[in-house]
Subunit: 319 residues, 2 copies
């Protein structure tokens, strides 16, 4: 099969590889669409905590069973199923977690093997490129869940990239008020239609937010965002920071004095992906605006630097 | 009346002052005991966010109504009573909060004025010096509440000062397992009896903690404590940091990747003080070990540097 393998940091190879053999409990799937995530670009550029090389990347997968013809969204995790985290429905914290496209080969290929229990059947009316968005959208749900989002709360999102906009979508779905801060004028322009349709404020009423979320990797967002929270508010570390700046300890005193919470969010649960599919169905037209283009496996390499620079919205590999 | 007034940073004066006049809703109380808090020492040395000068310090107060002879623990806060925080029982976050000994004159005096609704009647069998501990103990309850402490959870406490030990007491009361880390050998020795009675581990099984709490003001605790948390664990910023060190942004990525929460805790609610009084009754003998000595108003000045250096346990002013 055709596949795109990250051999070493910076070395992405288009290869012919054998079709993988499913292990016990797994199923072989034909990948119909796989979205390219900023994390894929980050892995290629500088690596990532959970990346094991060499690796076929890709964790935002829509795939079909060659046997039954059934179409699935694939929860990319494989968790142990019996630890304290798995039992309480926080399986993304499982210490034995293996993720497709990180620890295991993922969806930048014609075929992928996935655990049967990770498959989520999808409605016929949702096109494959939108099904790919279920995973990143679920990650925004996980982030908002960590912050205990409630109806009518004001959520300030730093970054109008695909993840920032999807966070806005999730906030709307749960009856909150999203506001986006974006410093790139091109991106502000590019996302105008989406923000209008989703009634998302831009740089308005940013102060006294109930929740601040970083959907961009600069640690300056932490320094800027903490003072914008109301007492008792939540800052969600949704994106990891890719810089190595220093944070003054004095900033942490604001967390102390105003009883703020800073909570991390990483990945998503299968249940959150199921909810994400409901949201995608509800906001199908809006979600379509997030997709910039559909590309071939061969075009991924040239897209990665553009993703890192925030020059493109969501790109979907079409097999 | 005799009083101890902080006129400016570093300038504590013993003065004769007029007995204060209670405003509407307030009552004049005779202070029988007032504990000296590390925050009092910090105010004297370097100030504090909520300090308004000149000020009679002292917020850990046991007082008697000269009219009825009834004895009270005094919740030192005065909140608006109608904002969103007051309504949901988080009145310590009220933006109009005024605190005795911070914004208003406190208990380092013969008399104090306090709102009638801030008074908590206390059981006869509890001596006044222990009643003074209700406020700091309530602050540890507030901290543990922010972290969602559950039965059987392991709580790593940095610092075996009075606040650290009281945190251990609260953890025990709620069925958790406290472990204390203390770098000062003198303090380790000094607190041996208390730790034995409360069955508090010392430097044992510190890893994989459910909760880490800083009961000491060095920001190094943040850097050391975050890696010791299990996935999904809570770091409580209980003490503010008095240094101005820098925290690497990379440390915050641990919060992201492992879905940790960093939550602030500041002050306490009246309800938490009521619970604290129950705990003090349950652990009366143990709590007595926290008290180093009872002193006069005139001895406070010389005690403050010792408190900052961690050389003394709880000192109580006896009128």
């Amino acid at each position: 099969m055709k596949a795109l393998q990250l051999k070493n940091i910076g070395e992405l190879h288009r290869k012919d590889m054998p079709v993988p053999e499913p292990a016990d409990g797994e199923i072989l799937l034909r990948v119909t669409r796989c979205a390219v995530c900023r994390t894929d670009a980050k892995m290629w550029k500088q690596g990532q905590r959970d990346l094991r090389l060499p690796r076929i990347l890709g964790h935002e997968i829509c795939a079909v069973s060659p046997e039954s013809g059934e179409r699935f969204a694939v929860w990319p995790g494989t968790s142990c199923g019996h630890c304290v985290f798995c039992k309480k429905g926080a399986e993304n914290l499982c210490r034995e977690m293996k993720i497709l496209g990180f620890h295991l080969d993922g969806g930048f290929a014609e075929y992928v093997c996935a655990p049967r229990k990770s498959l989520i059947p999808v409605p016929d009316e949702l096109p494959g490129e939108l099904i790919c968005l279920a995973e990143p959208l679920a990650c925004t749900l996980n982030a908002l869940e960590q912050c205990g989002l409630q109806k009518n709360q004001r959520v300030l999102i730093f970054g109008a990239g695909p993840l920032g906009l999807m966070t806005g979508m999730s906030v709307r779905y749960f009856g909150g008020f999203p506001c986006i801060r974006e410093i790139n004028p091109a991106r502000v322009e590019q996302t105008a239609q989406f923000r209008k349709q989703m009634d998302t404020a831009l740089h308005e009423g940013e102060e006294d937010a109930d929740i601040v979320i970083n959907a961009a990797p600069s640690s300056d967002i932490f320094t800027q965002g903490i003072p914008l929270l109301r007492p008792g508010g939540f800052f969600c570390l949704f994106s990891g920071f890719t810089d190595d700046k220093m944070i003054p300890a004095a900033l942490l005193n604001q967390i102390h004095y105003r009883q703020l919470s800073v909570c991390g969010a990483y990945g998503c649960t299968k249940k959150q992906m199921e909810t994400a599919l409901h949201i995608l169905r509800a906001y199908q037209k809006d979600a379509s605006l997030l997709i910039e283009k559909q590309i071939s496996l061969g075009e991924v390499q040239e897209i990665l630097p553009q993703i890192l620079k925030g020059q493109v919205m969501k790109c979907i590999i079409k097999n």
